[in-house]
Symmetry: C2
DNA sequence: CGGACATATATCCCTTTAGGCATGGGATAA
DNA sequence: TTATCCCATGCCTAAAGGGATATATGTCCG
């Protein structure tokens, strides 16, 4: 995983991805929707593009960006391991009570 | 969302969360499992704790950490908006063809 | 060709933050 | 109490990364 979470850590990049949720957008449209400067938008789009999160398509003198799910899927799958921690009313207390009581301190495995 | 993705961006913190997947662990156990220095582990655990991603429970002279799903759930829900981009064999091309052809350049909405 | 428009890149500045080291502090055992 | 184990914190340094401004590249039109 080429650090998808690293990409998503930046709010500006998440805003861009949110603006792309319902289809491809030109850079100008993204600038309007995110209130970022045009160079910033291009810079972040570049990063997203290099990581395969978005794709570009030339259309006249504008570039249309769209989402590619592949990378985002990895992040989603990583998080899926933790679903059980918020499903079925599983609280921290439930988890504690589930542990066996005899805890050996600091064994290698 | 107190920037859950920001937390997950750091590999060391993800490693800690991975080591906590099957239940609570002491700091010493986490040190062994992550090959990080003890101060680093404590430091990252502190960040995770302040953000409500993990919880602590004192047990004699050791502190047992465990996962709290609440915050992670927010990240998972954010990503759920993009599931359609990798489900049902939906590729970028499909997405492109789905768009209407008459695109007006740069309208506010 | 020349000029306007759309996007990309380059450079600088600045903030954030991780990691290492040393140290402090609480709990346990002798 | 003293020694020891387990963990937390503070300070420092180094590096990563975002935003702004200026500029380059590329495309369309007259």
């Amino acid at each position: 995983m080429a650090d998808v979470f690293q990409l998503l850590a930046e709010p500006s990049r998440r805003h861009l991805l949110e603006a792309l949720r319902d289809g491809e957008r030109s850079v100008g449209e993204l600038v309007d929707r995110t209130r970022m400067s045009q160079p910033s938008v291009s810079k972040q789009l570049r990063i997203l593009r290099d990581s395969g999160v978005v794709a570009v398509r030339p259309a006249g003198r504008q570039h249309l960006y769209s989402i590619r799910g592949r990378s985002l899927r990895e992040a989603s799958e990583w998080l899926s391991y933790y679903e059980r921690f918020w499903q079925d009313g599983l609280t921290r207390m439930d988890e504690v009570l589930r542990r066996e009581p005899g805890r050996r301190p600091r064994t290698k495995a």
